[in-house]
């Protein structure tokens, strides 16, 4: 791994709105440059996407962008990011996705020219390679439309480039359900890392060619899936916590390849990436309850630079359309954090402490997101000589932190949960630091019909 030391060593420096390496955008946002912005994410209501509904689809996105920007203007917003996370049809047929970017960029430009309101579009195509089982990560014909949407979409005005790539998911899906931590390390620190190198070299190359911003790649299909499964009580929260930490070594590869942030919202691995690399991050918490429940509504914002809602359907609420309503909620949260920042370090730390204190001991997934614990775990995530060793060390540090919180009596978990602590620790300790040895250990245990090693360069 490229990173050997932390850019942020002091928990007090891991603060919302401030990143050591802020990102400046075309229309004047400075993400991580001293203030928090809202990042609004949205999707269509229940409807089909086909030739006969395309005009309706375009209208939805135009109305979402106009509604959000008009309300942002009304609220004296300092700027917002619109995340366009495409639906499958929009990546399969890139012209649809590109047209939507054009429409929304037109709206953004109009508000910028007329009112000076800064806004940018984060373009997040789908990873279509999942459609093939086993996936052909490197030779799939699905790569072509994905890359076409990235390139044409950025030309059309999608300035921040992201994806939730799925390399390793063939292994992680089963590993998640079996609480198989070795399987998750293999999926994320071996397969995921290799696929991230392959994919992000291409994305960064395109971004540099067109002067755009390669932002980041969250482990949504891995760690967020784990969190949602834990919320449903399908898997232990402790396991979901460990998966989140392991996912850092996979997501950081985007930065190693040249991505500069802001990292994507549903990656709660963002705080670790910020500590290690200094990039700004997007986070989601209480205002993402429209998309999924979570145990970390407040603490998630402790070091956020963009504050997101994950996704909301464009449906009518009593107040107005849902994306506009969520923009207001995000904006108020951002406004509060910005007021604290402008009042000085003492005030911003008090607000951060309250955000942390209100969640920290309610769930292990929240526990690891306190700035102190982020720094402690991040130190472990960079000290090894391989991604596998770093994943293992980070996960063991997270287990230590959980056990300390339990021993101190500050956090309480049922026996059904705590019974997994020794199992996970034993499993992690059985992982060799050397990647080749780990691969040799794992291959006999895995169903090799489900993934193709050559597609990961193995």
């Amino acid at each position: 791994m490229k990173y050997k030391i932390l850019v942020i060593n002091d928990p007090k420096e891991l603060m919302f709105g401030i990143a050591p390496n802020p990102v400046k955008t075309r229309r004047g946002l400075e993400i991580g440059g001293g203030q928090v912005y809202a990042e609004l994410n949205f999707t269509l209501p229940v409807m089909s996407i086909n030739n006969s509904t395309l005009a309706q689809v375009y209208t939805h996105y135009r109305e979402i962008a106009e509604g959000a920007l008009e309300h942002a203007l009304h609220m004296n917003s300092k700027g917002i990011v619109l995340e366009f996370e495409t639906l499958l049809e929009m990546t399969k047929t890139p012209s649809i996705g590109v047209e939507i970017v054009k429409i929304m960029n037109g709206v953004c430009e109009n508000y910028y020219q007329k009112h000076g309101l800064s806004s940018e579009i984060r373009l997040t195509p789908n990873d279509l390679r999942e459609f093939e089982r086993p996936a052909r990560q490197r030779s799939s014909q699905h790569l072509e439309p994905m890359m076409e949407l990235f390139e044409q979409g950025m030309i059309a005005g999608g300035d921040l480039l992201s994806i939730e790539s799925t390399g390793g998911k063939e292994v992680s899906d089963e590993a998640l359900m079996m609480c198989d931590v070795k399987g998750m390390v293999f999926a994320l620190a071996v397969l995921g890392v290799r696929d991230m190198h392959f994919l992000w070299e291409k994305i960064v190359g395109l971004a540099n060619k067109h002067g755009k911003i390669a932002a980041g790649d969250s482990a949504c299909g891995f760690a967020n899936t784990a969190m949602v499964l834990a919320e449903k009580k399908y898997i232990p929260k402790i396991f979901a916590t460990i998966v989140r930490v392991i996912s850092v070594v996979r997501s950081i590869v985007a930065m190693e390849e040249g991505a500069i942030g802001p990292d994507k919202d549903c990656g709660y691995e963002g705080p670790f990436l910020k500590a290690i690399t200094g990039i700004p991050i997007s986070m989601e918490g209480k205002t993402a309850a429209c998309a999924h429940l979570s145990p970390l509504g407040n603490i998630a914002s402790a070091c956020a630079d963009l504050w997101s809602n994950e996704s909301v359907q464009n449906i009518k609420l009593l107040s107005g359309m849902a994306p506009t309503a969520y923009l207001e909620q995000l904006e108020y949260d951002a406004r509060l954090m910005n007021a604290a920042l402008h009042a000085g370090k003492v005030h911003s730390h008090i607000l951060q402490q309250l955000l942390v204190a209100s969640d920290i001991y309610t769930d292990p997934q929240a526990l690891i997101l306190s700035p102190e614990n982020v720094i402690r775990i991040s130190g472990e995530l960079v000290k090894g000589d391989s991604y596998v060793a770093n994943a293992k060390n980070g996960a063991l540090a997270a287990l230590d932190i959980i056990e300390e919180a339990l021993l101190s009596g500050k956090m309480k978990l049922p026996e059904l949960e705590t019974g997994y602590l020794p199992i996970l620790r034993d499993d992690l300790n059985s992982i060799p630091d050397n990647e080749s040895e780990f691969i040799a250990m794992m291959l006999p245990l895995l169903d090799e019909t489900k993934f193709t090693l050559a597609e990961y360069g193995l």
Partner: protein, 222 residues
Amino acid sequence: MEDLLVKLLEAVEFGKVDKKSPYPPQLRDMDGAHELTISAIEAGIKPQIILEEALIPAMSKVGKKFAECKIFVPQMLMSARAMGASMFQLKPFFASGAIKTKGTFIIGTVKGDLHDIGKNLVSMMVEGGGWSIVDLGVDVGSDKFVEALKNNPGAVVGLSALLTTTMVNMGEIVSTIRVHAPETKILIGGAPVTAEFCQNIGADFYAPDPQKAVEYMNLLAS
């Protein structure tokens, strides 16, 4: 003989696949579902009895514990694996007709959708309830469901979707199935799906969780 069935029920309930399996710790070095099923067959216990008095009750207990949040999915999956080890021994008796399942369940994630964790859970639980499973996988269109119904007349169909833009495909699949096999019972599930949506598209049952799917299926079989 009864003792064997009790032990087999316990092995499946707690996920003891075979003797060398380290899980669960309290059954370490004891016979698992694999060995106990062989012993039961050798002892002359009818395969149908093995199924109905050990395997199905064991999975029923597992489903109940899961529904009451007393176990997590991994424990349930271990039980399913133990049941699978037992079913492998019983396979010849299914082929010969000596054992009858409750019916066939055709399941798939609908076209345009690749999410399969929920589908797999339902599939496993229904199988544990004594049904044969035809899993069509993900991104499945109406043609594949119709074809599977032709090969498995009278089967119950389960449709899964996780996206608001793919759940609409359930409607088209239900309509097509109604044309080719109007009497087919169809249940649907997935995060954005509701009972109202189920009614609107003409499906028969909305399963908010895997256990509810099993309960509905058992009602159909009763």
